[in-house]
Amino acid sequence: MSTLSATQRASLDAIADVLIPAALGMPCFTGAGDVAAMVDHVMALRPELTEGLKQALDRVGEGEDAAAAAERLNQEDPGGLATIGLVASSAYYMMPEVRRIMGYRGQEQRPATAEEENDWMRDDLLQPVIDRGPIYRDTDGV
């Protein structure tokens, strides 16, 4: 279900591409796949963001340069710009393509393997701590 008008969505795409450009091996916001569907998903889960998002997007002038609009919003309505940034980055970092590039499979299920057990012992890592002996204050008779 789309709650943004076509104009609002175009403004979101333009500003989000300023906030999240293609750089350092990462795609820009609109280059990450079907971000529109993900934005709708974000708004469905966080409906309290919708009003603020729309209001901020409505402040973008028709044909206004996106970078200039983002700068202006950040000065005039930092809360609004933060909402755009939050919605855009939340959607972006949930995109499968972005996660693939980052090597992030989400908060994955990865129970410890037998090899990982006792990793605190490997290379005698803990030995110096044991060798130094007790460090607690004695309270006998206090």
Binding site: H41, R46, T83, Q107, E117, W120, P128, I130
Partner: protein, 537 residues
């Protein structure tokens, strides 16, 4: 009206669950009233892509951010720190990180050793058997022999791996000759008593989707209910009632249809946490106890301690998989725990080395900063620097009791049932500020020794009031304390408090192991002395 409960427990969190299980197992007729509801593990987002998004709202630890009807709002306008908690079966353990830390012997002797605050009315040795017992009930993973403690019974499960971040942090500590140890956690390293082995999702603070973490909805409530305890959810207590003899006689509660009930009881145990309990006592007592129930000392709500939290994040070149759980702590350090007055302050802190989570981080907090600082190419740069390549050394700073730091009733805020909410008045002391500054300097050294390429620090995190303590302190003298050493009110002999409100000092440790051990000790005493107690009839 219903039947008269032998014991009425208010609050189904950590302490309430421990009390309910042990009383019910001893054949006591228990009723527990809990304002929250039962939360199923499938409701948590840890196993879903939306985890970070939802952790900023629905699963945020600050009830003012969540704004759920099951929570009560809290006025924090005069507090340096926001209190954090969760309402439900299991209480705040649903979202706790499960660091399972005992206090040290010196924590119970603060006045005698350091000349500040007060000594506790019992010792570490008195509490030790109950710590041991709780380790088994919770299924604690850890390693015996930590030189920061006296010798102790090994926990039932071996430690979880400390992982890449733990090993890196440990190497730095070894270079400096500083203490560290694999951290004890109420998280099973192997399947344990019907709970799964930890899957290391790292989402413990937004609820464990694996039914692994020891939250008391899993560890205690099933046994309590199987033994006959009656748990009523959606039951918001508005007042503890008092009879003509000045004894607690039950509680008035409101159901989710707005209907008021009176649960009568022979004895009342309040387990509503360090904020909820003083709130309720201040709301109770009627004309006879105009200052609030059990408050002849005037100390109900006072001496609030919350462990101001500061942290140091180190960024590393090598991949550390630093979203991998548990979210709580891989290793801990008590190198600077005990008092050394040459540092210019007393007391100390535990450090915990923790993972730094997913890619989204704190993106919403950037509005207003220069655009290019947080966004554009710098967004990718910052994410690549932090995500998977960093860990945090956190500081659990001991804050000393100060009567001016307190919980009072707010004049305008109410919960959804129209009951006045609490207001928190809390300021960091000079001792705390010096303590944090010292520890942050040492953490920078620890991060450098670990090989961090760059370092950032947080001097005080506002959303850090995970630990709510001290607001109905125990003590021997009714003029300077609210409860005796068993959590029994000095004023009302059948009124008991078993949550973190009971604490005399805060220690530099996460409190829940101690809350549960104290609750168990008090309940065992209650059972042993059952025949001699005064109850409402």
């Amino acid at each position: 009206m219903g039947e008269i409960a032998e014991v009425l427990i208010i609050g189904a969190g950590a302490s309430g669950a421990v009390a309910a299980k042990h009383l019910a197992e001893a054949g006591v007729k228990v009723v527990c009233l809990e304002q929250g509801r039962h939360v199923a593990s499938t409701e948590f987002y840890g196993d879903k892509p939306e985890w970070e998004l939802m952790s900023q709202r629905l699963w945020h630890p600050n009830p003012n951010v969540r704004g759920l009807a099951t929570d009560y709002p809290i006025d924090t306008s005069e507090s340096d720190v926001n209190p954090l908690m969760f309402a439900g079966v299991g209480g705040s353990t649903l979202i706790y990180a499960a660091h399972w830390q005992r206090f040290k012997p010196s924590d119970f002797r603060v006045k005698s050793l350091d000349g500040v605050a007060d000594d506790w009315p019992f010792t570490y040795q008195d509490l030790e058997p109950f710590y041991d017992h709780m380790d088994v009930e919770m299924g604690v993973s850890g390693l015996a022999g930590d030189p920061a403690y006296p010798p102790m019974t090994p926990p039932p499960l071996p430690p979880l791996p400390i992982g890449k971040i733990g090993r890196l942090a440990a190497k730095g500590m070894n270079d400096l000759g500083w203490h560290w140890w694999p951290a004890p956690q109420a998280i099973p390293s192997r399947a344990y008593r019907g709970r799964s082995q930890c899957a290391r999702r790292g989402t413990c603070m937004q609820g464990c989707p694996e039914q692994a973490k020891a939250s008391t909805d899993l560890t205690h409530w099933p046994d309590a209910i199987a033994n006959g305890a009656q748990l009523i959810t959606g039951a918001r207590v508005r007042e503890i009632t008092v009879n003509a003899q000045g004894l607690a006689s039950g509680a008035i509660w409101i159901d989710r249809d707005g209907v008021e009930h009176h649960q009568q009881a022979e004895k009342v145990i309040v387990c509503a946490n360090g904020v909820g309990t003083p709130r309720l006592l201040l709301l109770s007592g009627g004309d006879r106890f105009a200052n609030g129930l059990g408050n002849s000392s005037g100390l109900v709500g006072r001496n609030l301690m919350m462990h101001p939290y500061a942290a140091t994040v180190g960024y590393f070149d090598e991949p550390l998989d630093s979203w991998l759980g548990p979210a709580g702590q891989a290793i801990h350090s008590m190198q600077f725990y005990e008092t050394d007055k040459s540092r210019g302050f007393v007391r100390g802190a535990k450090w915990n080395a923790m993972p730094t989570g997913g890619p989204l981080g704190m993106r919403s907090a950037y509005g207003g900063a220069p655009l290019e600082e947080a966004w554009g190419e710098n967004l990718h740069r910052a994410t690549q620097k932090r995500f998977g390549h960093s860990f945090e050394w956190g500081i659990i700073a001991e804050d000393l009791p100060d009567p001016e730091n307190r919980v009072v009733l707010d004049d305008s805020l109410t919960d959804t049932d129209g009951i006045p909410g609490p207001k928190i008045i809390y300021r960091n002391s000079e001792n705390t500020e010096k303590l944090i500054a010292f520890h942050l300097e040492r953490q920078r050294e620890a991060m450098e020794a670990a090989g961090a390429k760059s370092i950032s620090t947080t001097t005080l995190m506002r959303d850090c009031g995970w630990h709510l303590m001290g607001t109905c302190r125990m003590g021997k003298d009714p003029e300077t304390s609210v409860l005796d050493q068993w959590g029994t009110s000095h004023d009302v002999p059948n009124l008991h408090v078993l949550d973190g409100s009971t604490f005399v000092t805060s220690s530099g440790f996460n409190p829940t192991a101690t809350i549960c051990a104290i609750a168990l000790r008090s309940v065992m005493h209650m059972l042993e002395t059952r025949a001699d107690q005064r109850v409402a009839s």
